[in-house]
């Protein structure tokens, strides 16, 4: 959970891109980095040790500032999707304020999506996140590939969860911004609920929307 540092007038918000291996989590971050205004977006960092992928994750920091001089640093992380790297996945998920679940639309990946999602639920429990109230957005990526699960089927399966559902082709940059806007929105509302981000620091939904809105598709 984010904490407000009143002395430094600063809030750090952590958003984690979760999902099975090779579903396009890193691509989402790289696309965002390309689309974002350089003044509000930091350096894209990929942590990958050769031959040992246990430390594999990406980080993209960005910043929102209020007229009152408060700043919100938003850090986007990706987890390693490989089943074996559960400990790293768990560590990266810790303290998340919002999660984007990037699913692979290919029919062959249906089982991996399912396993990764239940792994997310299990790890959320392990690191003390209230999964039922955790801001969560589902992205079905790779809509540009053949042999994918139809939108109708995806809708049918996921609509009952009530979670925001976005279709994307991250390599083409499609749906990346919508996904980001959706998770920013959900996370802001949750933080507003929990710690009155607006009343105490002057953050508004508009400020958050602008960050995503600045991105041109």
């Amino acid at each position: 959970m984010a904490e407000i540092d009143i002395d430094r007038k600063k809030v750090v918000v952590k958003i984690v891109y979760y999902g099975p291996a090779l579903s396009g989590k890193t691509t989402n971050l790289m696309q965002l980095h390309g689309l974002l205004d350089p003044t509000s977006c930091g350096e894209f960092m990929s942590f990958e040790t050769k031959g040992d992928r246990t430390l594999f994750f990406d980080l993209l920091p960005m910043m929102i500032r209020t007229p009152q001089g408060f700043s919100a640093k938003i850090k986007l992380f990706t987890v390693p999707g490989q089943v074996a790297h559960d400990a790293t996945r768990k560590a990266v998920l810790s303290r998340a304020d919002g999660v984007v679940f990037v699913a692979d639309s290919q029919e062959s990946q249906a089982l991996n999506n399912f396993e990764s999602f239940s792994n997310l639920e299990a790890n959320a429990g392990r690191v003390g996140l209230d999964f039922a109230r955790l801001p969560l957005v589902i992205q079905f990526n790779k809509r540009d590939l053949p042999d994918i699960v139809s939108e109708d089927q995806v809708q049918q399966r996921w609509r009952p969860s009530g979670l925001p559902l976005i279709f994307a082709a991250a390599l083409q940059g499609k749906g990346v911004r919508d996904t980001f806007a959706a998770i920013l929105n959900a996370t802001f509302r949750h933080l507003e609920d929990q710690m009155q981000l607006g009343r105490r620091c002057g953050f508004t939904e508009t400020l958050f929307r602008e960050l995503a809105g600045n991105l041109a598709e």
Partner: protein
């Protein structure tokens, strides 16, 4: 370069915010600054965002500095979109502002590079720490779970050992019982075989004895008449004419008759034959019993009220008891019916009760008791007799084992009883109650051992 202990690496969150003191290591700064300051012209100072000097330690704060900083001498140090520190290029007051800016810019690039490198290192190291810690915890949990299951298996193994010992004992006992039964069966087979062999000669012996009795009955009066005759001849004063040796011959016959004691012989002969016939009759009975022993009669089974069976058996035996012994019944109400052969079971009860009657002293009492015991009915038959020594408890079921006078029983009664009870899936055992006498306990399963 590593300033943290392993402990802080493992316990601090890898994704926390890092500041100037985290990202710029004074030892490293000293190396870089020494090179820049080697010419003696310039001095580099790094301050916190609020202006307090960070490195070198004890550098005068810029605000209190005597010499005002020239233009281009100050640059912010940025990390992740934030200013985390301020770089100042001091000294060489006459240096052209462009040159100073170049130096400052170069120094900032080097320092921000160092900071980024340090940032990556710290995040990697701490995340690694978290992962290792987590893996360690999981291993520990696994070890605990293993220890628990090991303890459980140990417990199971101990119980299993006991269970195996118990079952081994059970098997041993069953084996002993089977051996005993097999022995009894073998003896029974042998006896039955012998009975068959005995039966054949017994047939003609009985038949011959009958004929012999008949011959004896015919011969005896003839011999008596003949004796009377030769006595008459012997007693004649004048022997018959021309036959003076007749008297002598009659005297010789009389002498021979006296020698063999003909009178007694004629009396004893029918008696001997009668006894022989009785003896052969007894052999016939024994042989018949032996045969039924080897081939138990095939009989349909019905559901039986054992109370009624016992009462009927007592009725049949009442002549044998005839005021010498009394019977006391304590029979359970609503006794479940037992599947079995009525005549075989009645015969079995009769053998046991008869034994009890014969063992009882005059004025003794036979006590019959029935009771339900789980899925079985228990019949107890107790007497006030002398009791059976413990050592004989198993032997009483052996064929031909008897303690009675010869002729008073052939020793097959309890053997037949034992077989009948076995065929009904039941058990029979002898008890010596402390009060004396003998109690025979027969236990019969309700389903007849099916």
């Amino acid at each position: 370069m590593v300033t943290e202990t392993e402990h802080t690496l493992a316990t601090e969150a890898f994704d926390r915010e890092y500041g100037l003191t985290d990202l710029l290591d004074p030892k490293r700064l000293a190396v870089v600054f020494r090179q820049v300051e080697a010419g003696g012209l310039l001095r580099l100072v790094i301050c916190h965002p609020d202006g307090k000097p960070y490195f070198p330690k004890g550098a005068p704060a810029s605000s209190s500095s005597t010499d005002e900083l020239p233009q281009g001498a100050t640059l912010p140090l940025r990390h992740e979109l934030e200013t985390v520190g301020i770089l100042q290029v001091r000294g060489a007051a006459d240096l052209a502002p462009e040159a100073r800016r170049s130096v400052a810019g170069f120094a900032r690039a080097v320092l921000e590079g160092l900071m980024m490198e340090r940032y990556r290192y710290l995040m990697s190291a701490r995340l690694h720490g978290e992962v290792v810690e987590d893996s360690y915890l999981r291993l520990q949990q696994k070890a605990e779970a293993l220890a628990k299951s090991e303890a459980r298996y140990k417990g199971l193994a101990a119980r299993l050992e006991k269970e195996v010992a118990r079952q081994a004992e059970e098997i041993r006992e069953t084996q002993a019982r089977l051996m005993e039964r097999a022995q009894l069966a073998a003896i029974g087979q042998l006896a039955a075989g012998m009975a068959h062999e005995i039966n054949n000669p017994m047939g003609f012996i009985s038949s011959n004895l009958n004929t012999l009795e008949q011959y004896t009955r015919e011969l005896a009066p003839l011999l008596t008449d003949a004796r009377r005759f030769w006595r008459f001849i012997e007693g004649c004063p004048a022997p018959l004419e021309g036959r003076d040796d007749v008297g002598r011959q009659a005297a010789a016959l009389e002498e021979a008759a006296c020698r063999i004691d003909l009178d007694y012989l004629l009396v004893d002969l029918p008696e001997l034959l009668r006894e022989s016939r009785e003896g052969s009759e007894r052999i016939r009975t024994i042989v018949a019993n032996l045969k039924s022993f080897a081939q138990p009669g095939i009989e349909t089974r019905t559901t039986l009220d054992l109370n009624r069976c016992l009462e009927a058996t007592l009725q049949v035996l009442s002549p044998n008891m005839a005021g010498r012994v009394t019977a006391a019944c304590r029979l359970a109400d609503a006794l479940p019916e037992v599947l079995g052969s009525e005549s075989q079971l009645n015969q079995a009860f009769m053998n046991v009760i008869l034994n009890a009657v014969q063992a009882s002293p005059a004025g003794g009492e036979i006590r019959l008791h029935t009771v339900r015991s789980g899925d079985a009915v228990e019949v107890q038959i107790a007497d006030d007799g002398p009791g059976i020594p413990e050592a004989h408890h198993n032997r009483v079921f052996e064929p031909f084992y008897t303690t009675r006078e010869v002729g008073d029983g052939c020793g097959l009664g309890l053997t037949l009883t034992y077989n009948t009870i076995q065929q009904h899936g039941g058990t029979i055992r002898i008890q010596n109650p402390p009060a004396g006498g003998t109690t025979v306990v027969i236990r019969l399963p309700i389903d007849g051992g099916r």
